[in-house]
């Protein structure tokens, strides 16, 4: 008797999420492609619910980062000094943000701490790309010639100097960007779209169950 109850509960645990995903997905598909007021209204509601739940999931993830670093401080693991800085500034921002996202402390920290740090971090890439240009772009094969010549033409054609040197340069750059590059990207976009559709169909037919929490989500 207990085994039966156990089996039913395990069965329900597996099938309820799957049924939910398939049913909701089917409804959303109808909402997406057709204009039926009731379904559209329900679909809108579900979309808004998704926004709320995803926001909550983001919140959980962010809190998890803090918990991980807090644990590192507690256990005095390697690099716990840095974790103190991380956790304290995060808490300062969160507490200062209790009245609202527009509070003066929060915006001040964003404008003068987060912004310079993030902008500077990404601008470092310019230096690395320069050393890569010097060391990495060797003309070893015809393929690399094609690659490097394209990159050079695009680089020179984008800037005023290119136009100064020759009117042809920006035009060739335009052609490269609008014809071969677009062709390649179009192929990639079509391929990715196909993959997205395939994956979505797999999820909506229950063949793939990424929400199951199991290691192997396919049957």
């Amino acid at each position: 008797m207990r085994r039966l109850a156990q089996a039913i509960s395990v069965g329900l645990r597996r099938s309820v999420p799957m049924a939910l995903a398939i049913a909701i997905g089917a409804l959303m598909l109808v909402d997406f492609f057709f204009d039926e007021p009731h379904i559209n209204a329900l679909g809108s509601f579900f979309v808004e619910s998704v926004v709320i739940v995803v926001a909550f999931a983001m919140l959980l993830g962010l809190v998890n980062v803090l918990v991980v670093h807090f644990r590192r401080i507690w256990k005095r693991e390697e690099g716990w000094y840095y974790s103190i800085a991380l956790v304290s500034i995060a808490l300062i921002v969160v507490i200062a943000g209790i009245p609202g996202a527009d509070s003066r402390v929060v915006t001040w920290i964003f404008d003068n701490v987060q912004f310079p740090l993030q902008a500077a971090t990404f601008s470092l890439l310019a230096f690395f790309v320069a050393t890569a240009a010097y060391r990495g772009l060797r003309l070893r094969s015809w393929e690399s010639v094609a690659f490097v010549v394209t990159a050079v033409v695009v680089l020179v054609g984008q800037v005023p100097v290119g136009r100064y040197v020759s009117d042809l340069l920006p035009q060739i750059k335009d052609w490269i960007l609008n014809v071969p590059s677009t062709a390649g990207m179009r192929g990639i976009i079509i391929g990715v779209a196909l993959g997205t559709i395939a994956t979505g169909v797999r999820v909506l037919t229950g063949f793939d169950r990424p929400y199951s929490g199991e290691e192997d989500s396919t049957r």
């Binding site: 799957m18 995903a21 709320i52 991380l86 979505g200």
Partner: protein, 216 residues
């Protein structure tokens, strides 16, 4: 806070990040942790005040009677919370399944209507005789179509599971695709360099202008 202090703080932080060029150092590490901490904190504040409060908390608190449907997202959020403990994690599967159901459906619809069909149509229409433009435009359009097909052929027949096909036409198309992709990557690289240089210019402009006041 006086303007001077804020500018100096921002400048010092920028220079600390640039110290990475000298090599990884503790000051840089500290700066990175401060960055992560502040962005985590800021994201929490924005999520709470921009989304959760106005969309979930306020409707339920103000008029729980009329806004009873909002109990569904509340329930889903609580189910998601159960994922933090291993024993109750299975409860959260339904919430995740809901997200996946909606997400997958929207993704399918969007990919179909927004990317797949329009892009296929673009390749097709441009080659059909009715389209406008001179001979150059027509030639470009043919090249576009051939390049697109070549790219797809390259990925499908060479990178895919099937391995090398025998047919000459297919192999030719894959080769065309390969060269098209090379040019595409070259263009991507060139554009990336441009982007990073622009970011550097912005920071240097700040350092020279706002901090040192050297710019007019």
């Amino acid at each position: 806070m006086s303007e001077l202090v804020t500018v100096w703080l921002a400048a010092i932080l920028t220079l600390i990040v640039y110290s990475y060029l000298l090599g990884d150092n503790p000051l840089y590490r500290l700066a990175q942790h401060v960055f992560v901490g502040s962005s985590v904190g800021y994201a929490v504040v924005v999520v709470l005040h921009n989304i959760l409060r106005p969309r979930l908390v306020e409707p339920l608190l103000e008029d729980a009677g009329a806004n009873w449907p909002f109990l569904l997202p509340l329930l889903l959020c609580l189910l998601l919370l159960s994922k933090t403990r291993g024993t109750t994690a299975w409860l959260g599967n339904s919430a995740v399944a809901f997200l996946f159901g909606v997400g997958a459906a929207l993704a399918i619809g969007g990919a179909l209507l927004g990317s797949f069909l329009p892009q296929i149509q673009a390749s097709w229409v441009s080659v059909s005789p009715g389209s406008a433009g001179g001979r150059v435009a027509a030639a470009n359009n043919i090249l576009l179509a051939v390049g697109t097909i070549g790219t797809l052929a390259y990925f499908y027949f060479t990178v895919g599971v099937r391995g090398r096909p025998g047919s000459g036409l297919v192999r030719f198309t894959s080769t065309v695709g390969r060269w098209v992709i090379l040019i595409t990557f070259g263009a991507i690289f060139g554009n990336r360099v441009m982007a990073y240089v622009s970011l550097l210019i912005e920071r240097v402009y700040f350092l020279l202008g706002d901090w040192l006041g050297l710019l007019g």
